[in-house]
Subunit: 101 residues, 4 copies
């Protein structure tokens, strides 16, 4: 019951697999759009604006994945005795996102 | 026993309160250093390098706090019935760090 | 002569149109790779690592475009009387990259 | 005359030395505030929000310095025959800001 509600009303960065996939499809299209802009020698500042939009969209996908991972850790990490390992991995992933690679 | 070992050998971004405080003291000193550089009209690129170093140090403090929060959530979030709320808060905090404010 | 040398030995973030295009093609492939990973329910942390790699690659493209813009501004901005406008645009673009969108 | 106008109507990220200094003073105070929050064991998420605010403020200082550098380069870089060197330095600085150190 509670799970159904959670699924029905995702809050914050929570994303379903379908949502992640359609966001990634859109990002793929945005990258192709940037390729075309470079091909056509479009004004550099406009291309940069598009790249920033892709970065923001990728951040949103990353936060969706991270949210899912954190919720899974909460529910099962402790009982599986892997809480520390999973937290460590998660922090390393956040660190890489902050440093951008 | 296991907890003792974990405490004794913090891995990754785990930081004690003492470590966080001494890192923040150092960051405060770095900010004062940048003030002095601007005061003395030092070469802009050198000032920017110092600012990047402060940002990296702040990221490390943020990751230390986040790591502590995540570990606490893992241990107590589920039993307190606040796992979802805590994860949501954590993701919002990561989102703000990525967008830098 | 000088131009030839510049083209022959690009330093730092300088990138030719060809280089930008092949980098973007590679990024497009990386995004498709992430789509496949999500499709196959691959381990979240591995997907996040890939996303960070894409972000880093996009940053490199952005810096290449910015570098080109800055060099153009230097050479022609002043004489065109658009130095201030172009610098303002460039800073706004850097601001968006820092805030990621 | 032109300089006066520029000083009188700063646009975008342009900042005077006074503005940079007062911003840095404020940032120093914010860092001390975070030290106090950690000392008092304040809620981790609130501390992270403060850290994000400091990072945003530092980005603003960095963009102000970069803007000043870029305008200087525009005006004098070409005539000094250092346009390429200065652009390279500037891009490296932006790269470090994006990677946060």
């Amino acid at each position: 019951m509670l799970d159904d509600m959670t699924t029905a009303t995702p809050r914050g960065y929570t994303a379903t697999k379908d949502q992640l996939q359609s966001r990634l499809k859109r990002i793929e299209g945005q990258v192709r759009g940037v390729e075309k802009m470079v091909e056509e020698d479009r004004y550099c500042i406009d291309v940069l604006t598009q790249i920033s939009a892709i970065q923001a969209a990728l951040d949103k996908v990353a936060l969706g994945l991270l949210d899912d991972h954190a919720r899974h850790c909460m529910r099962h990490g402790a009982e599986e005795g892997k809480a520390d390992e999973m937290t460590g991995e998660m922090m390393a992933a956040v660190g890489r996102l902050l440093r951008r690679g």
